[in-house]
Amino acid sequence: MMEEAHYNFAFLDERTKKMIRRATLKAVAIPGHQVPFGSREMPFAYGWGTGGIQVTASIIGRDDVLKVIDQGSDDTTNAVSIRRFFERTTGVRTTERTREASLIQTRHRIPETPLTESQVLVYQVPMPEPLFRLEPRRQESIKLHALAEYGLMNVRLYEDIAQLGAIARTYDYPVLVNGRYLTSPSPIPKFDNPKMDMNPALQLFGAGREKRIYAIPPYTRVQSLDFEDHPFEVQTWKHACALCGSRESFLDEMIVDDAGRRLFVCSDSDYCSDRRAAGHVGSQQAVEMSPAPGGAS
């Protein structure tokens, strides 16, 4: 696609990029700490990843290879729009293959293929404050972070177990970064939380509306909060991916007919097609769900 000549490289002006880079550096220096930055108006609506886009725009270079995913998939509206935006404003090469990408912007998933030291993962974050809804006062939550008083988060988890018998949080599951800062992992499924721990790639988080940037540097400890007698667990499925037969990946569940039959497929489209190319085959069939429910547990 043609590169737009009327905009600066990667849309943002150089001063803005410098400001965002500075915030990003600070964020990397204090893992998990939310750094305020002067978020700009972007040609996207809030909620479409304006924070992630600004981070990507400020770190992308001409040699980068960009991959954009939305819920694990490369071909959903959001991913396609953002990819096209960067194609037009930077002219960099884009890819759908996790292995080839040097910069991956993601919404709500971490790729199944393990990341490497030469990759940067940029998350789009709607609400960076994990204490949001627990502590309504911004000033007070800043203080709680400063003094590392995070008992409140466990109050929320306690409440889940008391009311529902288990920790009900399945996405945006709170983590403690480097044993210090309580951090929102953005709305990724808790299935992906263990991938953040000691990940060799640099993980950057941008929240456009809330004007915050935070980061998890490579090889940083990331623990999911839990109770000793109710340890953190990830989702498991009774089914394999219908296309590639994988039992290890995060599965999307789709209702395919009026009888309520479900199709389980990998949410990570690149991972799935890789496996199919390598000769793995799934059942190719939707599954009957009755009588026992057999979805994510």
């Binding site: 203080k143 003094l147 008083e149 008992g151 409140l152 466990n154 109050v155 929320r156 306690y158 409440e159 177990i161 008391a162 009311q163 839990d226 109770f227 000793e228 007698d229 109710h230």
Partner: protein
């Protein structure tokens, strides 16, 4: 009393500026509170009782004098003994406030977390101190529910579904769970009907006795002071006009204001 001094107010005062004019909400207040002792602060509204309580609890900073507290020296923290609370770091003061102190608010809604269940309310302080075992937290919550005479079956209900008296008892349980040595209470029985007040007072008296709590109770209700307190501080216009043993002060008031206060209590 021969018990060690737990809390010492030395010439404590607080100034507020209104309309460009400085005005002392309370000033020059001196007293010692020993471990296990209950002190009531009585006086009419606007006499600076609550301001004094907030100064003592470190919620406001003194403009005059200082508040000293016998900080426990354990937990690898140096410098036990009577310490000026203004010299403590904010982190340390907050730690103190949620372990060694309790604060029972006048409005239970202010002191409780209304959007989580009673059990979570009781467990909050423990979790803030690093308790990470659900079963034990739950046992503790149930234990304290019974201790303050709440129905243990309602441990998972939101405090909003409780009556006023139950909320107040829950607030007390939530404060006592870390076994504090000192509890501040701001009009704990105001806004409750008389029979509920009586039960709550009974409960408080029992707990204070059993747990050897020291307490500072702000109240305008002389009956509450009479029932709970060993000593009374009578305040008027921000100053202490009379202090002494409860029975002495109420049976033989010396200061004209105290005489007025005692004589104005309605008898049924």
């Amino acid at each position: 009393m021969s018990a060690p001094v737990l809390l010492r107010a030395a010439g404590v005062g607080k100034q507020f500026v209104r309309g460009g004019r400085a005005h002392w909400a309370c000033r020059g207040i001196d007293f010692d509170l020993c471990a296990g002792e209950v002190l009531a602060i009585v006086g009419e509204s606007g006499s600076g009782k609550t301001t004094l309580l907030n100064l003592l609890a470190g919620r406001l900073t003194c403009d005059q004098g200082a508040v000293h507290y016998d900080v426990r020296s354990e937990d690898g923290w140096h410098g036990g003994g009577l310490t000026d609370i203004a010299s403590l770091s904010e982190a340390r003061l907050r730690w103190l406030a949620r372990t060694d102190w309790g604060f029972v608010e006048q409005q239970a809604r202010t002191g409780l977390r209304m959007n989580v269940s009673a059990g979570a309310n009781i467990g909050e302080r423990l979790m803030a101190l690093g308790a990470r075992h659900y079963g034990k937290l739950r046992t503790e919550a149930l234990h304290w529910m019974q201790r303050v005479e709440l129905d243990a079956a309602r441990v998972d209900d939101l405090p909003g579904t409780y009556s006023g008296g139950m909320q107040q008892r829950l607030q007390i349980a939530r404060n006592l769970v870390t076994q504090p040595r000192l509890v501040f209470m701001d009009e704990p029985t105001t806004g409750l009907d008389v029979s509920v007040q009586a039960r709550l007072l009974d409960l408080l008296r029992e707990l204070v006795d059993e747990l050897q709590l020291a307490a500072v109770i702000v109240t305008h209700d002389l009956a509450v002071a009479r029932l709970l307190a060993h000593r009374v501080l009578v305040m008027k216009d921000g100053e202490v006009v009379e202090q002494g043993l409860t029975d002495r002060v109420f049976d033989d008031p010396q200061h004209p204001y105290t005489q007025l206060l005692v004589s104005s209590v309605l008898m049924p």
